[in-house]
Assembly symmetry: C3
Homo-oligomer: 350 residues x 3
């Protein structure tokens, strides 16, 4: 994995970026526009120079364009922006004999989708998405859910073909887990693939607030096409926290990083309420699995429509050097007149 400094320097190497940012009059306009617009675009502030006694003037077309561009540039320049909290961190199990034990505590927290932009979240282990569980087909696992939320909850293992009693649907397969209670799921992992775990109680609210995570099951006998040097999970959401990848909005989204010549596997998972057609620039994606099941014949695309509840696995041959925009192609989920926001990241092939 490349560290943050490398990523930042890759971004900074964009040619002559600083040439485009004018100061004085232009940035006064930019600052004024941002102040007037408040938080509308969720774009970071452009640098503002002090000009307290400047005479009032109507901006020219060029000045207005420069002011808009400065906001756009500021967003790009800030990427990848720091923010508090990181979701989808790999959770190491505690072994109980041959059983892998994972403890998940559901709690109400404040979560930064962007530095300075805190939202109320329901989080597993204080992460949005919850920590990543990664096991092998046939593993014996135990999930211990402690509910510290102000309401009942349960966990449904979306995609796993479990015995009915472990399916996590209140009043059908189990009682809801009340505030303060602990509930234990235990099973042998049945089927490989990119799956998810999430609440199945008051779920339109709870999943929107963060009660979700990746449950990756590695196959006992992987197919050759599955081989990848980099394995990236990308969970899409669009509810109470805005448009996010792995709990963050651009420019606080995490870049996907690979070396030239590497194979990258992306596991798209949609935990939102809307479709998101994900578009990668510069290289195509080869679709190898749907909901964890291999496609009978892999197929290529550059824009893959991910519907709520779906998971799609793709392979990218990272054979085109550069920093490539990677975003939802419902453009309103990715860009406003204040610049890019929401469902935008970059694939950096270095």
């Amino acid at each position: 994995m490349t560290d943050k400094n490398d990523v930042a320097s890759t971004f900074s190497s964009v040619k002559s970026r600083r040439d485009f940012l004018r100061t004085s009059a232009v940035s006064v306009i930019a600052g004024g526009a941002l102040a007037a617009c408040g938080k509308a675009g969720a774009a970071p502030s452009a640098p503002v120079s002090a000009a307290p006694s400047a005479p009032v003037k109507v901006p020219s077309e060029r000045e207005a364009a420069d002011a808009m561009d400065a906001m756009h540039e500021a967003g790009i320049k800030a990427f990848p922006a720091k923010s508090k909290g990181k979701g989808n961190q790999l959770l190491q199990p505690v072994m109980d004999g041959h059983t892998k034990v994972y403890k998940l505590t559901a709690r109400k927290i404040q979560w930064e989708t962007l530095a300075g932009q805190s939202v109320t979240a329901y989080a597993y282990n204080d992460q949005v998405p919850g920590p990543q569980i990664r096991v092998k087909e046939g593993d014996k696992v135990r999930i211990v859910l402690k509910n510290e939320l102000p309401e009942s909850t349960v966990i449904h293992f979306h995609g796993l073909e479990l015995p009915n009693a472990q399916d996590g649907v209140p009043f059908i397969t189990q009682p809801p887990v009340k505030p303060g209670e602990t509930y234990t799921y235990e099973f042998v992992v049945p089927n490989a693939g990119s799956h998810m775990y999430h609440s199945h109680h008051n779920s339109a609210t709870q999943v929107s607030l963060g009660m979700l995570g990746a449950f990756i099951v590695e196959p006992r006998n992987p197919q050759p096409i599955e081989h990848a040097d980099v394995d990236h999970v990308m969970i899409l959401n669009d509810g109470a926290h805005g448009y996010t990848f792995n709990g963050k909005s651009f420019p606080a989204t995490e870049p996907v990083v690979a070396k030239l010549g590497q194979k990258l596997r992306i596991r798209f998972m949609n935990e939102g309420m809307m479709i998101h057609p994900m578009h990668l620039h510069g290289m195509h994606m080869t679709v190898i699995a749907k909901d964890g099941w291999p496609q009978p014949a892999p197929w290529k695309c550059d824009t893959l429509n991910i519907a709520p509840g779906e998971r799609w696995d793709v392979i990218v041959n990272c054979n085109n050097k550069g920093t490539w925009a990677f975003h939802c192609h419902i453009l309103q989920h990715a860009e406003s007149d204040h610049g890019m926001f929401g469902m935008v990241t970059a694939l950096i092939v270095a």
Copy 2:
């Protein structure tokens, strides 16, 4: 087919359900919350105990959770709920020589999507969806449409590759059928598959109100993969009648019932205006046909995105015993804080 009593008892066998339902204070809160919220969630009322002179008290976190859970439980417990009217009933033809004659009368009626929740509907033969027409490739059929609606209408046979004159598009292939008039379609059934019939006049309104039904064409030479013990048509709609499967909202939706080891064929049909990614718990679906045409290679999933106008045929190997949630994964179409509603049913493998 399993009868209603069996289904109900399968549901009632959920362990210790009654343990979760508290009475007194809790159910007062539940009742109060329901009263305050009116019909918002379309969830059935939880049982309310009389407590006329109880002192005012702020509910604790646990009491509030119990109150919410009681509403959720009441919905599950009511499933499958009775309601007046059943759509998609197989329509037996009258034979005129070798021609199968189907009579469809379009009428404005009141329709229950849920007991006590009546909506204005445009219905064929007083059913929403209209009666199911099921024929064989090469059959000679006559459809006699009698229009008793307050406006003109026509029938388009969506998916059938008919001669142009039978295509049912007003002012292109025929005049609109005026109120009081009768119009006859007649053709040899050209292509097999899961098709639909619906209005093609003022259609955004008329189809939303119920002018739709399944037109299933069985092939002369079925493929082995098509063999199924249970054949279930599931028509999705999302217009004037709310979120429905076959004209009903949860808990009045019909369960899908199969015996352990049986093969189930589901024919999804979307007559609405929105996508609905259908998610089945516990078992995957093998996709065998799109719009009535075989897929070149069947493929597996657990969440299948159904767009307006599309039909998808899937096979489920019912090898996992239990009652399995089966719902649209746009969670706002399936659950509110009052419990499940709308596009929810269950696959019961007994």
Copy 3:
């Protein structure tokens, strides 16, 4: 290609159309309804006969139906309606040695989506969609963008696997092109298929306003299945200009015309913000490519869901004579109680 007169006469041959249009009282009602509704349905006006001193009367059910039908008929009868401006015209390159040079000037114009319905557009070479660029795999091309818009812009070649510097993302691969400036892209065309070019700056606004066009790359070695007698590009949009095919709304949309027995290739491209499941009457579509990449096995359908940013290529065997409705099956994008509008055209097999 069939000329407009042939098309119009095909449409006019609908049997006994004039029989359905009543005059006097009926058309008074029709006219009145239209006047009251203003521009709501975007349907053309029905003919109105003068009846200044007619006594006030409540229309009967039949009269109301006739009035509605007259509006529907007027829309159909007007198709294909003339309107000012035609987008997606093939752009001939100027040769500079072995390099094909295409000049695109971005300008703010008024654009007719329908006769008398002008909208503000950002257009390349005064066309919406911009002119069609059609080249061959391996061609050397130069695109010269002149920006006469009131804001900065760039061009992203959506689907082409270009060197990073030619990818058209401001502040990542290039500076924004300011008002009045000219910017040149130059590259060897890397991969075949149905691609697009569009703005990637303030794109939710600019693409919605018309900064988009088709970039078709013919393969060096076409597959047999790609052979087609008619090649039709259909760009879908749903933003500031309403629901459009190639920049026009029904009845000003262009019909697709083929002779009986011909093979028709349709290249669907979605430049909007919503899905559009395109439904063809009378014949199925065989899907051969996604985003310019061949599907591993062609598959058949009659309703194809096109998501934003996606391109789908299909082949239609035009073996069913007649005029066939061809529309988005989100019915609200295609029909109101005033008649068909927006995303509707016809495939005319003559």
